[in-house]
């Protein structure tokens, strides 16, 4: 890679343009063309951001787990897998945050409160914290390979942990009949156009995710090779230092 090359290629640029067009379309469909909900009125429109963002977060974490597994299982361990895993987790954390914020705003409008101890909400919060921890592990000192091995193991442990947390939180909430405010989507009767807008949201967010991951993992590649180049310089200096004496 030449030193001044960016993180984009013509393919990612086209993808980026497509995402922008889709995002505009989503805004039009979500905010204008689609109907209000009978019960919730206009607040239902949060759904077109809320649902796609949690969907994208799940895709991101699944991708992280798969890449981590591939990284560890290959004989010739390629750091590319680790970088995709890391990029995907970062963007996943971003989208979980978006879905938590939009969810809680939506909750405020429909339930009158920002937070209820709903099973899904609670386990989503745990999902968020778990991957914040994963990102913290990625930032620990060490060589690229140490980082890759540690974080891959962490990613695989996370997918063991998440079902356990989800299951136990569900079991916990199932004891409290009164709290079954369930999620608001259930009450929404989706007509054709609303359903279309929702799918449009899923497609848009998924493509946005792909675009972000492509760029982020290339930034990481540049960071890694920058560090490697720094190492080359340091090695050369160290050799000179030895030669000078």
């Amino acid at each position: 890679m030449t030193p001044n090359s960016g993180t984009g290629t013509s393919a990612t640029r086209r993808l980026g343009v497509l995402v922008i067009v889709l995002a505009i379309a989503l805004a039009l469909f979500g905010l204008r063309f689609s109907a209000e909900d009978v019960v919730q009125g206009s607040t239902v429109r949060i759904m077109y951001v809320h649902v796609p963002s949690i969907w994208t977060a799940y895709i991101a974490f699944i991708l992280t787990a798969i890449c981590s597994g591939v990284y560890l299982s290959r004989r010739q361990r390629s750091l590319a897998w680790d970088r995709v895993a890391g990029a995907s987790a970062e963007i996943g954390v971003l989208f979980v945050a978006v879905s938590l914020v939009t969810g809680s705003l939506w909750g405020r409008l429909t339930w009158g409160t920002y937070w209820v101890w709903d099973a899904r909400l609670t386990s989503t919060a745990f999902l968020f914290i778990t991957y914040v921890g994963y990102l913290a592990v990625r930032r620990l000192d060490g060589t690229h390979r140490q980082r890759a091995r540690r974080s891959s193991v962490m990613a695989l442990l996370a997918i063991l942990e998440i079902p356990l947390v989800h299951f136990s939180v569900n079991l916990w909430r199932s004891l409290h009949q009164d709290a079954s405010v369930a999620d608001p989507n259930a009450k929404v009767k989706l007509d054709g156009l609303m359903l279309f807008s929702l799918f449009l949201g899923l497609v848009t967010f998924t493509l946005l995710f792909v675009w972000l991951v492509l760029h982020r993992q290339r930034t990481m590649l540049l960071e890694d090779s920058f560090a490697d180049r720094g190492l080359d310089v340091a090695i050369a200096e160290r050799r000179n230092e030895a030669g000078a004496q």
Partner: protein, 231 residues
């Protein structure tokens, strides 16, 4: 060097070593246990109502266990890194799975002692009353929950043990993972205590959840501990 002994022997030797360290230094009995007890007292200050205390006693007991556990786990790896002993074990090619099992066992023993103490504190301070079956259930809950906590604590403690500045990472990594234990153990203990009119029989499914947790992390830990501590 002579051939390594079996994994089981090494695991037991590591566990015995950690228990000897505790017997020699008395950190658990002289520092952690009083800390756990004062936490229980502080809860009473915060929730200034005897009825509430009795109702939430199980949750407080397990919260105090988790907080104390963070200290015990950190201590368990400080003794390893203080003079490079864990490095020495790695250089000696000692099986990391066996080290994991050994350290987990020692951690379980220490946590169990702590939990007995916290249970007694709950009975004395929060006015908890138990039937014989309830006591048995509380005991089984403690054994099974401790098995899970020991494994998961050793696993993440090992990762956080390495270089400086990692100690602060332990609570962030560990607490979300042990959420199922907090939920399961609290519900099972509520059943054992009969808090809020819960029947003793309602606790057993939760003990099942705790057992699943323990088995999963015992297996995962044996496999994952090596890559996490080794670099």
């Amino acid at each position: 060097m002579s051939s390594m002994k079996s994994r089981r022997t090494i695991a037991l030797a590591v566990a015995r070593k950690d228990v000897s360290i505790e017997l020699n230094s008395r950190i658990l009995t002289n520092q952690v246990a009083p800390f756990a007890a004062i936490v229980m007292v502080m809860f009473a200050f915060a929730l200034d109502n005897e009825g509430i205390l009795q109702r939430v006693a199980p949750g407080l007991m397990w919260l105090a266990t988790l907080f104390s556990m963070l200290i015990v786990v950190q201590r368990s790896f400080t003794v390893e890194s203080a003079d490079g002993a864990l490095d020495a074990l790695r250089v000696a090619g000692v099986d990391t799975g066996a080290i994991f099992v050994g350290k987990s066992l020692a951690l379980m023993v220490q946590l169990f002692v702590l939990e007995i103490l916290l249970l007694a504190t709950a009975v004395v301070l929060y006015g908890v009353e138990m039937t014989a079956v309830g006591l048995l259930e509380a005991f089984v809950t403690m054994v099974v929950a401790t098995a899970g906590l020991g494994c998961v604590g050793t696993l993440y403690g090992g990762l956080a043990a390495g270089a400086k500045g990692r100690e602060t990472l332990l609570p962030l990594l560990l607490l979300p993972v042990v959420a199922p234990v907090l939920i399961g153990a609290t519900r099972a203990t509520e059943a054992a205590f009969g808090s809020g009119g819960t029947a003793v029989s309602e606790g057993w499914p939760w003990i099942g959840l705790l057992a699943v947790f323990a088995v999963i992390f015992a297996v995962a830990g044996t496999v994952a501990f090596g890559p996490l501590v080794d670099e």
